[in-house]
């Protein structure tokens, strides 16, 4: 197995705080929100697993030495990951054909999905949304945005369509919240929760 400290990019004599900080940064970087509909999502997931394992190994090894650790933290992130992957389950109740197309897009079988979409009889909101997803995965972002816009205007109350549109808009993207940009204001997301848990955990161990 690779050196867990190397995975987190820190030296073995880093303090517990530094380990936590490095872990939090890595976990943010590879968070599934940053890889929605991304053809590299599987690589990011692998990386996330590696980071989680490295953090667990370090905290376990340090527990013997008396260092306080926040083990609830890693579980928070790993559960975040599995829920992130299922963003498409929302409207599985729609026609079976569309479900098949969704599966094809999720599996990266873009040619097949494109073929099915070409044959689809109706050009409704869902069709536009799926076309947008297809183009997004191909990296054709201008066309993707046009389709997402059309889907969102045909069905303005659909949460999924609006989220997709936000994803390709510069102003309000998930990257802003979890990536390198300034943190989101006033929201309560997974990171806040983890931070809160971490703080609580530190208070518990205050009398060590």
């Amino acid at each position: 197995m690779t050196d867990p400290y190397k995975v987190l990019g820190i030296s073995p004599d880093a303090s517990d705080e530094e380990v936590k900080k490095a872990y939090r940064e890595m976990a943010k970087k590879y968070h599934p929100d940053n890889y929605v509909d991304n053809p590299l999502a599987d690589l990011a997931q692998e990386k996330m697993k590696e980071v989680n394992e490295a953090y667990d190994t370090i905290t376990k090894a340090r527990k013997g030495g008396g260092g306080r650790t926040g083990s609830g933290y890693s579980s928070g992130y790993s559960s975040g990951y599995s829920s992130g992957g299922s963003s498409y389950q929302g409207s599985y109740q729609s026609a079976g054909k569309y479900a098949e197309i969704r599966n094809a897009i999720n599996a990266g079988n873009l040619q097949y999905a494109e073929q099915l979409l070409d044959q689809a009889p109706a050009r409704d909101a869902e069709w536009n949304f799926l076309m947008g997803s297809l183009y997004y995965k191909k990296g054709w972002l201008d066309d993707a945005r046009s389709f997402f816009q059309r889907a969102a205007s045909m069905d303005p109350y659909n949460q999924e369509y609006r989220q997709a549109l936000n994803m390709v808009s510069a102003a309000n993207s998930p990257y802003r919240q979890t990536g390198y940009g300034p943190p989101a204001q006033g929201g309560f997301d997974m990171c806040d929760m983890c931070t809160a848990m971490m703080c609580a955990n530190m208070m518990c161990g205050g009398c060590r």
């Binding site: 890889y35 991304n38 972002l141 201008d142 945005r145 993207s173 990536g179 390198y180 940009g181």
Partner: protein
Amino acid sequence: MFGYIRPCAEEMKIREFERFRALYCGLCHELGREYGLAGRAILNYDFVFLAMLLWGDAGTCDYCFRRCLPGFCRRRCVTKSAPPLTAAAGMSLILAYWKAQDGVADSRGAKKLGALAVRGFLRRAYKKAAGKYPEFDGEVRRRLEDLSRLEKARSESLDEPADKFALLLSSACEAGRQEDRRALEQLLYHVGRIIYIADGYFDLKGDLKDGNYNPVAARFGLTDAHVPEEVRESVLETLMSSARLAAAAYELLPASYWTPVTRNIVYLGIPQMIRQVLDGTYQTAVRGRPKHPARLPDRTESEL
């Protein structure tokens, strides 16, 4: 291919900047050593970025001091030759040659003569490079043929021609390590897409004047140099989305000796370039005029 991909120098550490400059000189020397004067003439920042990405686990860099024509009086610090540098030099030459070839096919009159001269000048060097990287050469030629077909047909899609150019650049990932290929390919794809669209926007005025095909003008039906606000917004969003996807792919590459510089380029240099191209300040910004310290923006975080 056009020198758009450069770091945001104000945010670099001085040692990073010095190393970057040494690599730039090193690539120039490498091109000179392998391909003669014709090789040196094609040097630009995009190829230096490519060399850094191809670095992989080649470890630290060796430096030496050398003279060159523009800096004859003083010996400059340059990087010594290394395998990633050689690969980047060969691929750069192939790209530059096919770009000149493209210019021959597309232009008329005096410009055509100029393009013919450039192509003739690069010909021998190109043959040598193509012998080394035949697969890459074939890929670039095919993609450029597709691209010029789309441009002749005056395609109204922005993504389709950009896709051809992006695929062309992303095929350079073959020189990277096997396990990094997928992330590298995706990163280069989006960088290529950004270069193509930003260059289209930058050339908008000239292309409209000469009646040449311009992807941005064709996509939004522009007929004069005035760009409506919503068009600018739309181009900004598509470019920034690509920059974010490039950054997401970049994060999946392992760290290398050049990580501090490439990180700066991905998170600061590219967004800054996009913003400057879109608000029309790019040309003055890259001319290297003295900068007024009070007017430099305070920015340590990424704009992505």
